[in-house]
Symmetry: C2
Subunit: 344 residues, 2 copies
DNA sequence: ACAATTTAAGAAACCGGTTTCCTTTCAAAT
DNA sequence: ATTTGAAAGGAAACCGGTTTCTTAAATTGT
């Protein structure tokens, strides 16, 4: 249906080769011919078929983005950032969600490779460091967004989780809390190891010995999981007076538990999250949270990835990977105990 | 790098044609040859290159999904639903967001067509009915998810907005409210015309004349826009005692305004939203909302689209479009004035 | 015993681009 | 006057699949 390069060539009375050369500026074309081709192009409304182009050039101008769950606002922000820079640089995103299942993840990676994506950005990986490295060695350009695989030899952009956790816990300590619980995700994810570590370190530096009873690492990370964890902690004989939740979603769940048990936030329970998703602003209690900015991570990750793709295009060199670590800040709202105009 | 069909053919000692026939089961292949090819395939780890396949078959097994803003949880849910059925039927999603700009939308459609998507699902259209119809006539399979273009000749799945709005407003009326304001999106979007209409009708049916002062149609639909609208309404000489917000995002913004002005929800202001996004469960005041289920719309839209694509593949017939209209329900939480166990 | 089918497999064209060669023309350089 | 090389453009191969056509052998029918 749509016009092809052959149609254009015919209309302009030249060969396909010449049209291609003109379009890409890769070879001498006389002024006169240029004009004829240009007018044929606009008359036919010709636009190159990217699929054919991709086959020939082995470049699809498409990037795969793998997230765990689109419903999680943290990922939504990250996707937003990614989409923004992808679009601005002429790429489109193939989106897929794993729901945290390693199997789905493997099949997604296959599907993406079959589609010849120029690169894959993982905002969720259950793949082992080794597997990711293998992928990269196999020529697939990879970037990790907000995921830390210490031994994977690929670009990453991440937030300093240890520091972020300490920021959160120290703030709660400044509010006078001593019984500060931790609720986080699976320890198989480096991020949560770090956040847990930050929690422990901050407590110890303040002379508080972390209680194992107050340390919860969950398999799922949705609001429901946070809710269950919240119930569990609040019903303890010695319930914490504050909780550091390693993701905002978990924090929201904890809020729901408080709401149900009629515990006021922040007075009866102070809460600090991690991610600073936009909704924290209008959550049950406006959520104080460590800002790792998913948006920025999405942007930076795609910049890194596209830079690498295009650099490699020009000069296929094995150059070093970059690890971009963003410094977290604390986004103070009210769930920690601060009130507007009276932050600690 | 990856094995091609030629490699497989060579390894199995047959021609490409035979391999292709075996893989697709489109022609006789002897048992013995089948086995040789199968073993070559598994030894080489061969997987067909979808780009090449797409060029030849003019099918990419890729579907474009156009949304306004991924950060909006309504779209996030819709995307989730869409991704789920796309994946289960062997398609992947090309995601793009328009930010509500018609220009971006046009360029996105072009980009998608160049990439030979098998179809496009619009969860956001600023395109006119006519343009969408033209697209469809031009051979692009189209579905509208949660968007109503009355005159477009394409499949659509949408929620009955008039009915949904009436559900919301009637509920507020049952709570005894008379001064019920409306805050919605641009009237260029059919949906908001309908929701506004539902608001008016419900009021009139209850013998209340809608006040123009209490009727706000906004250009943007983010939390910030809702916040501004909330401030405006609350500062009126005769402020409403209840507000029906045509999207949850707007409702969240209104909550923020209430919070700032120290108006308690639902006691000083009752609020009902539209979309029933999951986050409403843990918003400042748990949000009562009309459930149009973005998730289900995303699912259904993709089912419709894929069905059409595959039907058309077998027998290119111009058959009638379907309009699937989902019945809204009211998801009652607390912002309307109901309390748990004591719903009206 | 011979025509008609069925079964099996390969050659070549095609999808829509890009790229490598190759040829021709014409101006500048020796 | 001849060589050199830049400018311009086309033919054909290629990317990795699918499909149409042919051909040939094996099976069936009469």
């Amino acid at each position: 249906m749509a016009a092809t390069i052959t149609d254009v060539a015919k209309a302009a009375g030249v060969s396909k080769a010449t049209v291609s050369k003109f379009l890409n500026g890769t070879h001498y074309v006389s002024q006169e011919t240029k004009e004829r081709i240009a007018s044929a192009v606009s008359q036919l409304g010709y636009a190159p078929n990217r699929v054919a182009q991709g086959l020939s050039l082995r470049r699809s101008h498409t990037i795969g983005l793998v997230v765990a769950n689109i419903g999680n606002p943290f990922y939504a922000e990250l996707i937003r950032g990614a989409e923004e820079v992808a679009a601005s640089r002429g790429y489109t995103l193939l989106l897929a969600s794993t729901d945290g299942e390693p199997k789905r993840e493997a099949s997604i990676v296959n599907a993406m490779r079959q589609r010849q994506v120029d690169g894959i950005a993982f905002a969720s990986v259950r793949l082992a460091d080794r597997e990711v490295t293998a992928l990269a060695k196999d020529g697939v350009k990879v970037v990790l967004a907000s995921r830390h695989l210490p031994d994977a030899e690929v670009d990453m952009v991440l937030v300093d989780s240890v520091k972020g956790a300490k920021l959160a816990v120290n703030h709660l300590i400044q509010h006078g809390h001593k019984a500060i619980a931790y609720v986080g995700g699976a320890l198989s994810i480096a991020q949560f190891q770090d956040r847990l570590k930050g929690w422990k370190e901050a407590l110890r530096e303040a002379g508080i010995e972390p209680s194992t009873e107050h340390e919860l690492s969950l398999d799922r990370m949705d609001v429901e999981a946070g809710y269950q964890a919240g119930l569990q902690l609040l019903k303890l004989e010695n319930p914490p007076t504050a909780i550091f939740a390693a993701t905002d979603n978990l924090a929201f769940g904890i809020m729901k538990a408080c709401d149900e048990l009629n515990r006021a936030i922040p007075d009866q329970l102070a809460l600090v999250g991690f991610d600073a998703v936009p909704f924290g602003e209008v959550s049950l209690s406006p959520l104080t949270s460590v800002d790792g900015s998913g948006l920025i991570m999405g942007q930076r990750a795609l910049q890194l990835l596209i830079d690498r793709i295009e650099r490699d295009q020009r000069a296929p060199s094995e150059n070093r990977q970059v690890r971009m670590v963003l410094q977290p800040t604390l986004c103070i709202r009210r769930s920690c105990g601060c009130r507007p105009g009276m932050e600690i």
